[in-house]
């Protein structure tokens, strides 16, 4: 079955201090020709160029929270998009204070952003915050030191597919196709009812990506986070540093793995690694010991849903 592209490109995997060639958090996501950037740490625009990603076409930028390692690449990226003659509106979904930060920066640098920006402010609720014809985005309140939201990106359900051989068999008129694709019964030229489930096949289950960074493990996981194809969950710390995770409201490998189980996720990607770890093998091994289908996020890696 043909599935339109739904891809996660990892741009940065470090936590607060970038080290060992790891960049601060950012991900570039394609959903069937729409482009989403999630978080925008320092150097994101360089990473987008390095991996030849079509960053001029970004439709929506999601910002989980206002810690520097998630936003310090934003002023540079927005400026570059303007210098590159972007015209199209950009949607930024972020905590309200982001617009004050950007306004202060752009006022003093006398930078002109020559394309419209529409801010949509997150608040600490589970809600559908955005949708277009290809996907919906939901916010999930996380548990961190400043207001932080996770995101669920879910593709829109596709149409039902009409079975080719049935068109002739049931003499389905062309003007009835759309009704059938949308799930309704149709009629032939003689007024006979054509039952939808006989002449169509259901669309694939809409794919879902869940992004949780930065957060302590949540006690209650909203229903919309369940059954994701991929969960990205931060693992700032190994289990031996659980005390640090609790102190800073971050997660360990064990926390992430348990969350993946509770969500019934198909696959878990971990990232947002503390700069105290040069090698990441232990983080992967620990997580896999509880949730086998885990992969490390590394700069430049692509995951397809």
């Amino acid at each position: 079955m043909f599935l339109p592209p739904f891809e996660i490109h990892i741009l940065g995997t470090s936590s607060a201090i970038p080290a060992f060639d790891r960049y601060p958090t950012s991900q570039f996501i394609q959903v069937n020709g729409s482009y989403i950037l999630v978080d925008c740490g320092e150097g994101t625009q360089m990473q987008l160029r390095k991996y030849h990603l079509p960053f001029a076409r970004i439709d929506v930028i999601l910002i989980s929270h206002l810690h520097g390692d998630h936003i310090f690449g934003l002023p540079g990226l927005l400026t570059s998009l303007s210098l590159l003659q972007r015209q199209k509106e950009l949607i930024i979904i972020a905590p309200p204070a982001l617009s004050e930060i950007l306004n202060t920066i752009f006022k003093h640098s006398e930078a002109k952003i020559n394309y419209p920006i529409q801010f949509i402010f997150t608040n600490q609720k589970v809600e559908k915050i955005f949708e277009n014809e290809k996907f919906s985005i939901y916010t999930i309140p996380l548990k961190h030191r400043v207001p932080t939201t996770g995101f669920v990106i879910q593709e829109k359900e596709q149409d039902r597919k009409i079975i080719k051989e049935k068109i002739k068999e049931y003499n389905i008129p062309i003007h009835q196709f759309n009704k059938l694709k949308k799930g309704f019964d149709a009629e032939d030229e003689n007024g006979n009812i054509i039952k939808n489930e006989i002449v169509t096949t259901p669309p694939p289950i809409p794919r879902k990506y869940v992004y949780f960074s930065d957060t302590a493990p949540l006690k209650n996981l909203p229903e919309i986070t369940k059954n994701a194809n991929i969960l990205y969950h931060e693992t700032t710390f190994k289990k031996e540093h659980q005390n640090l995770a609790e102190l800073t409201l971050h997660s360990t490998t064990i926390d992430a793995a348990n969350t993946a189980i509770q969500m019934n996720a198909q696959k878990l990607i971990i990232g947002h690694y503390s700069s105290r770890y040069e090698k990441l093998d232990d983080l992967l091994t620990e997580t896999k010991s509880i949730f086998e289908n885990t992969e490390l996020a590394t700069e430049g890696k692509k995951f397809s849903l």
Copy 2:
């Protein structure tokens, strides 16, 4: 003759849009064990790590102006220094509005900078804005679209050197050494005058580095900019794009070369290249056609004075 290190490390050479693996402007300077960062474009902290420079030891940060390609790396660098437990005061010499920008960013990210920062604000005057025992820094008003200053970094004059053989010959008492080093005459135990110029040699001429970015060519060059060992001068444009240079208040290769001649600089380094140029050969050739001792700034290159 031993000269203490005076080194310029190039971290970034792009103008507004980083491209072709060029980073926005930043330079790391060592003057005899003191460390200065000049401008701080996005990604500066990654570049400092990449080239293994001791960025925890930066004493002074100079900011020429508030365009994004000269400051967007600053919030991340300042945050990382704090997370790395810096205690020592940091001096930032910059346009006044920088502190408002940083305060707005740090307020909303709830970042705590755990070391003292002393701001010294530039204004559009030729003046000595800072000195310590090793160097002096002068500001030079440049000609750009927002208030912009160039900088002259000049090492302090060293002591005169006592000629070893003369100590015995003239029976110079040890307690008179300091007087001689400072240029005064001394006395022996019998009250005889020892003429300074007979028993000492003069120190080397203090070395001088001049940094001009971003600017249209200046009509009048302040005396303090003259006779530099190295002039760094932006060359955003080739001569064929002189109209763009005039429009945006930047310099061409020809402008930079002519400035180097007027300053009587020994060497010229060019940089701040427009993203319209992938190759830099033409920029070098054009500049050298007027001022032969020119070199291209490139990421990771070190120049010694």
